[in-house]
C-alpha cells in the first residue's frame, strides 16, 4: 500500500459549511481516514439548495460545492439530537485520533460531545473546536461566515482601493481558517506521537485572519495609526500595480524594486523619453509620481497581451505576471505542467475538474483519491466493520431514525 503522510490517522469530522470541512479535507488529502458525521435532519448547508450552489441544484448528493470541500472523505448518517446517536458518535471517537467540529461555541457540550465527554471515551483524543470568535470571551456565542471573519479580522478594511469600499474577502477566508486549523491539529498529532498526550484546541476564525496581517497591528501599536486600503500599491516600490493589456479585461501585474529592474523595464519599453525625466529619475521620485508613471506604463502594456508582457519582462529579470482570471488558469502552460488540477469521477455528477493539494511532497504525495461521499455512503463500513454492529442492529437504528 502506498504510504501517505497521515497513514493510520482517523478523524471524526463533525464539521459543516466551509471552514471546518476544508480543514478535514486537507487531512484527508494527506492520507488520514476522515469520517464525516452528517444527518438528513440537519444537512451540511453546502448540500442544500442555495444561491451559491446556483439554480441547477438537484439534491444533496449532487452538490458541487460540497464536492469541492469534502473530497477523499467517508460519510455516515447520525441524527445527533438523539441520545443513541450521541452514544454511537462516542463509540466512533473511541477508534479515532482526532475530532474536529465548528458548531457555535457550546453546541457540542450540549449534545454531550464536548471535549470532556470525548476524553472519557478516548483519553488521548485531539479535538479542535473552530468557531467564529473563539470558545471564550464575552462574544463567544456570536456567529459568522467567511465575510464576517475577514471583517472582524481586520483584513476587509485593508483590502481594496483608497477611494473605494473595503472588500470583505469571501470564501477564501474560511479556507484560511481551515489551513490554520490543520497546522494546529498536526502539531498536536506530532506532540501526541512523541508524548502520548492528547489535548483540546480552541480556535477563533476571526483571529486566524488577524494573524495574517500582523504588521498592521504593529503599525497601530507603534504609531497609533490604523493602516488602510492601498489598492495594488506598495509602501516603497513603484511601479507596483496591475496594468491593462490587449484583450478584454486582461491585466498584468508589474513590480519594480531595484534600479536594475527599472532600467531593464525601460529598455523593454523601448527607452521612452518620459522615462528619463527628472520626476522618474530615482526610486523616491518614481514613488511620488506613481500615478503619472502608471498611466504611462499602461500606454505601453495595452499594446501587448499579458503573456507577452510577462515573457518580455521576465527575460530581463523584471517581476511581471498576468492577473489571471479563473478560467485562464486551466490553460496556463506552467500550471498544466505542474498538474495543479485533477479530474475526479463522481457517481452522480460525473467527471469534475478540481484543484489538487496545495503542496508537492517528494516521498508521500498528497492526492485526491476519491470523490466526496454520498450522504451516508459508508454507514456499512463504519457501523459494521469499524464499530462491530450487526446488520440487524444497523437496520433497527435506521428505522428508529438514529442513523438518519
Amino acid at each position: 500500500m502506498e504510504r501517505t503522510l497521515l497513514h493510520g490517522i482517523r478523524v471524526a469530522d463533525f464539521t459543516w459549511a466551509w471552514a471546518g470541512p476544508y480543514g478535514t479535507m486537507l487531512l484527508a488529502l494527506m492520507g488520514a481516514e476522515v469520517i464525516k458525521i452528517e444527518s438528513s435532519s440537519r444537512l451540511d448547508h453546502t448540500r442544500v439548495r442555495s444561491l451559491a450552489a446556483g439554480p441547477g441544484f438537484v439534491g444533496p448528493d449532487h452538490a458541487w460545492i460540497f464536492n469541492e470541500l469534502n473530497l477523499n472523505k467517508l460519510s455516515i448518517n447520525l441524527d445527533l439530537s438523539q441520545p443513541k446517536a450521541v452514544e454511537l458518535a462516542k463509540k466512533l471517537v473511541k477508534v479515532c485520533d482526532v475530532a474536529v467540529q465548528n458548531f457555535r461555541a457550546g453546541v457540542m457540550d450540549r449534545l454531550g460531545l464536548g471535549y470532556s465527554s470525548l476524553k472519557e471515551v478516548k483519553p488521548d483524543i485531539i479535538m479542535l473546536s473552530s468557531s467564529a470568535v473563539g470558545g471564550t470571551g464575552p462574544e463567544r456565542q456570536y456567529v459568522g461566515f467567511a465575510p464576517t471573519f475577514s471583517a472582524l479580522g481586520g483584513l476587509a478594511y485593508l483590502t481594496g482601493f483608497p477611494d473605494g469600499p473595503p472588500i470583505p474577502v469571501m470564501g477564501s477566508a474560511d479556507l484560511r481558517s481551515a489551513t490554520t486549523a490543520v497546522f494546529a491539529i498536526l502539531a498536536a498529532i506530532y506532540h501526541r506521537a512523541v508524548t502520548g498526550e492528547g489535548q483540546h484546541i480552541d480556535m477563533s476564525s476571526r483571529e486566524t485572519i488577524t494573524a495574517l496581517i500582523g504588521e498592521s497591528i504593529l503599525e497601530y501599536a507603534m504609531n497609533q495609526r490604523s493602516p488602510s486600503r492601498q489598492g495594488n500599491r506598495d509602501e516603497a516600490m513603484a511601479p507596483h500595480n496591475c496594468y491593462p493589456c490587449r484583450g478584454e479585461n486582461k491585466w498584468v501585474s508589474i513590480a519594480v524594486d531595484t534600479e536594475e529592474e527599472w532600467q531593464a523595464l525601460c529598455q523593454v519599453m523601448g527607452n521612452p523619453h518620459w522615462a528619463e525625466e527628472e520626476r522618474f529619475s530615482d526610486a523616491y521620485a518614481r514613488w511620488h509620481n506613481q500615478e503619472e508613471l502608471d498611466r504611462l506604463i499602461a500606454e505601453w502594456t495595452i499594446d501587448y497581451t499579458h503573456y507577452e508582457v510577462m515573457e518580455r519582462l521576465q527575460k530581463v529579470n523584471v517581476a511581471a505576471v498576468p492577473s489571471f482570471r479563473g478560467n485562464e488558469l486551466f490553460n496556463d502552460p506552467h500550471l498544466k505542467e505542474r498538474g495543479f488540477s485533477e479530474v475526479v469521477e463522481h457517481p452522480l455528477m460525473g467527471k469534475r475538474t478540481v484543484v489538487g493539494p496545495p503542496w508537492k511532497l517528494s516521498s508521500t504525495p498528497a492526492r485526491v483519491s476519491r470523490h466526496s461521499p454520498l450522504l451516508g455512503e459508508h454507514n456499512h463500513y463504519v457501523f459494521g466493520e469499524l464499530l462491530g454492529l450487526s446488520e440487524e442492529e444497523v437496520e433497527r437504528l435506521v428505522e428508529e431514525k438514529v442513523i438518519y
Binding site: 503522510l5 486537507l26 494527506m30 444561491l51 451559491a52 446556483g54 470571551g137 464575552p138 462574544e139 465575510p147 464576517t148 471583517a151 472582524l152 476587509a156 478594511y157 483590502t159 481594496g160 469600499p165 473595503p166 472588500i167 474577502v169 479556507l175 489551513t179 490554520t180 497546522f183 498536526l186 506530532y190 506521537a193 512523541v194 484546541i201 480552541d202 477563533s204 483571529e207 500582523g214 497591528i217 503599525e219 507603534m222 504609531n223 490604523s226 492601498q230 495594488n232 506598495d234 491593462p244 498584468v252 501585474s253 513590480a255 524594486d257 521576465q314 517581476a319 505576471v321 498576468p322 492577473s323 482570471r325 479563473g326 505542467e337 475538474t353 484543484v355 496545495p358 508537492k360 511532497l361
Partner: protein, 401 residues
C-alpha cells in the same frame, strides 16, 4: 513551564520577507528552535519595511520583521563563500527542517538543492516556498507579493466581490498571499515531521505560492473549471452583504432562514418574515435591490458596533469591518489575551497578535523577541559548532559571518 508541541525540533531558515519567515515563526511559536540565517551586514529585506516607531526607518526596528521573527535565533552567514557553505553544511547535519525561499536554479548552483542536502542529512525535511514552485517553465520567474497574488487568479476574484465599484483586479490587504503560502507550508512541514517519526527519512516539500493561493479559491476556480465563467460572488446578488453605517461598514451574511428572520427583526421589519415574496433565498434575491435599500437605511443610522452587537444578540451573522485600532480595543480579543506584549531591546514594549489557537496542553508562548542582526553568532558558532573566538574574528573580517 508548560511543554511545547514542537519541543526538540530544529529548524534552519534561509528566507526573507514574509512567506518563509512566517512559516518558521509558526514552528518557533510552538516550541521549535529556529535559527535564522541572514546576509552579513544586510539582513532580511523585511528589516527595511514598515512599520517603524515614529516612522523612522532602522534595521532593528521594523514591526514587520519583529512580528515575523519572534522566538528565533539569528545568525549571519555568507553563503556565496566556500567557508560559508561549509558552515551551512555543518548546520544542516543537525537540522530537522530547512525553510527556504530562493530561486530553484540558485539553490542548485550553490549545491543547496534538496538532493545535495539530503546526501549530507537524509533525515532533512526541506520546504521550498517560491513564486511558482520547483518545476515548470516559470520556476525561476521573479515575483514580488503583488505578482504572486495576481498570478493566482485571486485578485480578479476580489474585484468581483464589489462589482461596478472597482475597475481592476486588486491584491489582498498587506502581505496576505505571502502569509498564506507560509501557513500552507507550515502545515506540510509538521505533517512531514510526524511521518518521519516512523520512517526516519525526510523529504522535499515544494510549495508554489501561486498554487497555495489559488487553492484558497478552489470553489470559485472549480466553477470556472466546469465552464461556468460567471463568478459565484458576482452572480450571488445576495441580500445583506456590504453596508455603510454611521461610522464605517458592516458585512451581513444570512444564507439561512432563521438568520434572515433575525435581520428582519433587527431592522424593525418583522412583517418581512411572513411575506410570501421573500420566502427563501432565491425569492429574496429577486428583490435584492429594494431589500438592500431598506437594510441600508437602517444601517446608515446606526454605528457598526450597534449593528454588530444588536444583530449578534439575535443570532444574525453581522461583522463590523474593523481597523487595527478597533482590534486592539476589542473586549473579546482582550478577554482571550489575543494580543501579547513583546519587549524588544531597540523598540521597547509593543503589542502584537499571539496565536488564533489555544492548546490546552502545549500553549503558544513568547520566549524572545526577533533577533538583532547576528545576535546569536557567538552562541551558534562557538558553543554549538565549536569555533574559537579567533575563528570568529577572522570569519567576520572575511565577510563570512
Amino acid at each position: 513551564m508548560a511543554q511545547t508541541a514542537l519541543a526538540g525540533v530544529k529548524v534552519l531558515e534561509y528566507a526573507q520577507m514574509v512567506s518563509g519567515p512566517y512559516c518558521s515563526k509558526l514552528l518557533a511559536d510552538l516550541g521549535a528552535e529556529v535559527i535564522k540565517i541572514e546576509e552579513p551586514g544586510v539582513g532580511d529585506e523585511a528589516r527595511r519595511r514598515e512599520p517603524f516607531p515614529n516612522d523612522i526607518p532602522h534595521p532593528e526596528k521594523s514591526g514587520l520583521f519583529l512580528y515575523l521573527n519572534s522566538n528565533k535565533l539569528g545568525i549571519t552567514l555568507n553563503l556565496q563563500t566556500t567557508t560559508g557553505r561549509a558552515i551551512f553544511e555543518e548546520l544542516i547535519k543537525g537540522t530537522d527542517v530547512l525553510i527556504e525561499d530562493n530561486r530553484p536554479s540558485a539553490m542548485k548552483e550553490l549545491r543547496m538543492d534538496y538532493e545535495s542536502l539530503a546526501e549530507v542529512n537524509p533525515r532533512l525535511i526541506m520546504a521550498s516556498i517560491t513564486p511558482f514552485g520547483q518545476t515548470g517553465p516559470y520556476r525561476d520567474y521573479k515575483a514580488y507579493p503583488l505578482n504572486s497574488y495576481h498570478g493566482s487568479g485571486s485578485a480578479s476574484i476580489l474585484a468581483d466581490i464589489v462589482p461596478g465599484e472597482i475597475e481592476r483586479p486588486v491584491k489582498g490587504g498587506g502581505y496576505l498571499g505571502d502569509y498564506d503560502s507560509g501557513l500552507c507550508a507550515a502545515a506540510a512541514v509538521v505533517g512531514a515531521l510526524y511521518r518521519r517519526l516512523f520512517t526516519g527519512v525526510g523529504q522535499h516539500i515544494d510549495v508554489s505560492k501561486q498554487e497555495a493561493l489559488l487553492s484558497l479559491e478552489r470553489v470559485e476556480i472549480g466553477r470556472y473549471a466546469m465552464g461556468d465563467s460567471r463568478s459565484t460572488v458576482s452572480v450571488q446578488r445576495m441580500v445583506g452583504g456590504l453596508h455603510r453605517c454611521k461610522d464605517g461598514y458592516v458585512v451581513i451574511t444570512i444564507p439561512m432562514q432563521h438568520q434572515w428572520e433575525a435581520l428582519a427583526k433587527l431592522i424593525g421589519k418583522p412583517e418581512w418574515i411572513k411575506e410570501e415574496s421573500y420566502k427563501d433565498e432565491f425569492a429574496r434575491a429577486a428583490h435584492a435591490e429594494e431589500l438592500n435599500a431598506r437594510i441600508g437605511e437602517w444601517m446608515i443610522n446606526h454605528t457598526k458596533d450597534e449593528s454588530y452587537h444588536r444583530g449578534q444578540e439575535l443570532s444574525c451573522p453581522i461583522g463590523a469591518i474593523s481597523t487595527a485600532e478597533e482590534l486592539l480595543n476589542s473586549e473579546q480579543l482582550k478577554a482571550r489575551d489575543f494580543f501579547m506584549e513583546v519587549d524588544h531591546p531597540k523598540i521597547g514594549r509593543v503589542k502584537f497578535p499571539a496565536a488564533p489557537y489555544r492548546f490546552s496542553k502545549t500553549p503558544w508562548r513568547l520566549e524572545r523577541p526577533a533577533p538583532l542582526l547576528g545576535e546569536h553568532n557567538e552562541e551558534i558558532y562557538r558553543r554549538r559548532l565549536g569555533y574559537t573566538k579567533e575563528d570568529l574574528v577572522r570569519m567576520r573580517a572575511a565577510g563570512t559571518i
